[in-house]
């Protein structure tokens, strides 16, 4: 191993030190605290019971883990959260792909404007945008009345749009769509037109050009977008809280409930750890698939 000159090493630490410190203080340390908390006993009035109990013994146990593993309701909620996040990711992918292609193929002078439109929603507050959906999906809004009058013609019972799984999914897709569009666009924009010309010259029609050239070359962007959508969608609690019905509680809501309402910190910690591990496992899986299929180092540059 080569040893960098001391000036270089100091420079490297000066550059990477502050973000590293930030991550240690606000990510690594809290994670450790959470892992420790998951083995402790909930306090009588919330929080945690003392680490050393009255008899002077160290109070560490796996009760919270046992509870998660023995009461199936929690695992069901966890699975339901994975399902919602998966469906959200898939719908985002289906909606974002054509949009990203459209932006990448539009004349250069319009691309920045179109990208700006994609990220425009970020300019207003996340919660306000969710509340806006309450109005859009509300029982007296045009959308619900239109849907229900159509259902009425078919003789079906009217359905509420708000406070339903439908409302949760619509809003999950809405919130996460830009996170899928951006990495896809960044990938597609670099594609070399010569490859598509070559494919066409070699006899490929429009479908084959997409399916055999564009799509496989865009997989790194697909994986990046999928991870950026799936992971936050898995832990979200605000959307089911505001727009969901009684059965739309997801793992994020459960965790929030443990910390703020039930005040069972050890169990909340266990649920958080499960969520973190699931996200890590999926991100690792995506990276592995990406390396295996995309081992060509991204699209060839012109």
């Amino acid at each position: 191993m080569s040893v960098a000159p001391i000036g270089h090493r100091i420079g490297r630490w000066l550059v990477s030190g502050p973000p590293l410190l930030y991550l240690v203080v606000f990510f690594a340390a809290p994670t450790l605290i959470m892992v420790l908390a998951s083995f402790r006993t909930p306090g009588e009035f919330g929080g945690l019971a003392p680490l050393i109990d009255e008899s002077g013994k160290l109070d560490l146990n796996v009760e919270a883990y046992t509870r998660f593993l023995t009461e199936p309701i929690y695992f069901e909620i966890f699975l339901k959260s994975v399902w919602y996040a998966l469906v959200t990711t898939l719908i985002c992918l289906l909606l974002a792909y054509p949009l990203a292609v459209l932006i990448a193929k539009s004349p250069k002078k319009y691309r920045d404007l179109l990208l700006l439109l994609v990220i425009l929603p970020f300019w207003s507050n996340f919660l306000i945008r969710i509340y806006a959906w309450m109005i859009i999906l509300g029982p007296n809004a045009a959308l619900a009345r239109a849907v229900n009058s159509v259902l009425g013609w078919w003789g079906a019972e009217p359905v509420p749009l708000l406070f339903s799984s439908f409302a949760v999914l619509v809003c999950l897709v809405y919130v996460h769509l830009p996170f899928m569009v951006l990495p896809l666009y960044a990938n597609l924009e670099k594609h070399d037109q010569a490859l598509l010309d070559a494919a066409q010259d070699l006899g490929a029609n429009a479908w084959h050009r997409f399916w055999r050239i564009t799509f496989p070359l865009s997989l790194p962007g697909v994986y990046a977008g999928a991870a950026l959508v799936f992971i936050p969608a898995l832990g979200i609690f605000a959307i089911p809280d505001i727009l969901g019905g009684p059965n739309d509680s997801l793992i994020g809501n459960l965790i929030k409930q443990q910390f703020l309402e039930t005040r069972d910190w050890p169990f909340g910690s266990v649920l958080s750890i499960v969520l973190t591990l699931a996200a890590l496992a999926l991100a690792g899986f995506a990276a592995w698939v990406g390396r295996r299929n995309g081992g060509f180092g991204g699209p060839e540059r012109a």
Binding site: D201, L202, A204, L217, A302
Partner: protein, 360 residues
């Protein structure tokens, strides 16, 4: 009837006419080259044959059938792109198999065809490699194998050797000639490199500003350029211009500034009083030490610059009034490797049929 007929084809981009009323007839099995400087319209013409650019006027006929309205994927024409355009996510085999799969070739026939194509371009054993593991020359061979594997009627090559270094380029030129003879497919080759064009082609069309200036065999293009542009673009050429002062029995005399009267043999009828140029190749000029009394049609000058190239030495000789004439002397001639120095007075002469007369 020619295999590929290009009849009065024009292509405009806004106000710019990239290809201007071009007519060509290319025979089956021919190695045909479109030669010209960048922006002369040669690549646009190639893209029109491939189907990527529509013609604004004229027709392109392949085997008598009008190609208009046929998309590139439906034409029996393949292109080798300048950037190779290999699919980076496929192996060499995957790349070569691509056109076969698109043509719905039965799967069991694909492997032998890939093997044969890779053998043609001398890449046996490279099938499992990824494109980024190949050198420039190897990528080029894969691109050619991929384009030839379905035996197209015409193969278009767009400056395929431009990205290779000089030595490799020469090797690939010889391989291309051999390959073309072997497969017997019509090659249409686009290049701005005149040596490459001369070495490879059976016929060359020299293009300038969207038009074909001359179409002929390489030796005719080189020895009998029809326009000043062709003479200047192909190789090195002295262009001696001036008014025609005499025309006697097929020998035209021009009054060239700095040299005086210069004779040139020509078959064409040239009126006295018109003007023209003599295209005179440097290697056709005899350069020697001055004699005491210069005979007729010997011209004196001083060596202003010399370029020692190894096999030959190029002398730039300044005559009166600063006119420069480029002359070349092979170093294979007996004696010293270098014959004259800068500042030496020399005498130049050439046979009357060494130059080629170009009317204005």
């Amino acid at each position: 009837m020619a295999l590929l007929e290009i009849q009065g084809v024009t292509r405009r981009f806004g106000d710019f006419t990239a290809v201007d009323n071009v007519g060509l007839a290319i025979e089956a099995g021919e190695f045909f080259t479109l030669l010209g400087p960048s922006g002369c319209g040669k690549t646009t013409l190639l893209r029109m044959i491939a189907g990527f650019d529509p013609a604004d006027g004229g027709r392109i006929l392949l085997n008598g059938e009008d190609l208009a309205g046929k998309p590139p994927e439906a034409r029996p024409v393949r292109t080798v792109f300048q950037s190779y355009a290999l699919f980076p996510h496929m192996t060499v085999e995957g790349n070569v198999a691509f056109p076969l799969r698109m043509a719905k070739t039965p799967e069991r026939e694909i492997a032998p065809k890939i093997a044969a194509a890779l053998e043609d371009v001398r890449l046996v054993g490279f099938g499992k490699r990824m494109p980024q593991e190949l050198s420039g020359g190897q990528k080029q061979r894969v691109a050619i194998a991929r384009a030839l594997v379905t035996h197209p009627t015409v193969l278009l090559l767009d400056e395929p050797l431009a990205a290779l270094d000089a030595k490799l380029r020469e090797e690939m030129q010889i391989e291309l000639i051999d390959l073309q003879k072997e497969v017997g497919i019509t090659f249409i080759y686009v290049t701005h490199d005149q040596t490459e064009a001369l070495a490879l082609s059976r016929r060359i069309a020299v293009m300038n500003q969207g038009r074909v200036e001359q179409m002929d065999a390489p030796s005719n293009i080189y020895n009998f350029p029809r326009t000043r542009f062709v003479a200047d673009f192909i190789g090195h050429c002295n262009l001696l211009s001036g008014p025609v002062i005499a025309n006697v029995r097929g020998v035209v005399t021009l009054d060239v500034k700095g040299l005086g009267p210069v004779d040139v043999a020509t078959g064409s009828k040239i009126a006295r009083g018109s003007s023209g140029s003599i295209a005179l190749r440097p290697e056709k000029i005899r350069i020697e030490a001055p004699s005491s009394t210069p005979p007729n049609h010997h011209y004196r000058g001083t060596v202003a610059e010399l370029l020692y190239m190894g096999d030959v030495t190029v002398y730039k000789v300044a005559t009166q009034n600063g006119t420069r004439v480029e002359a070349l002397r092979a170093n294979s001639e007996s004696g010293r490797a270098q014959f004259f120095d800068v500042g030496d007075v020399v005498e130049m002469s050439w046979p009357v049929d060494a130059g080629h007369f170009i009317a204005e």
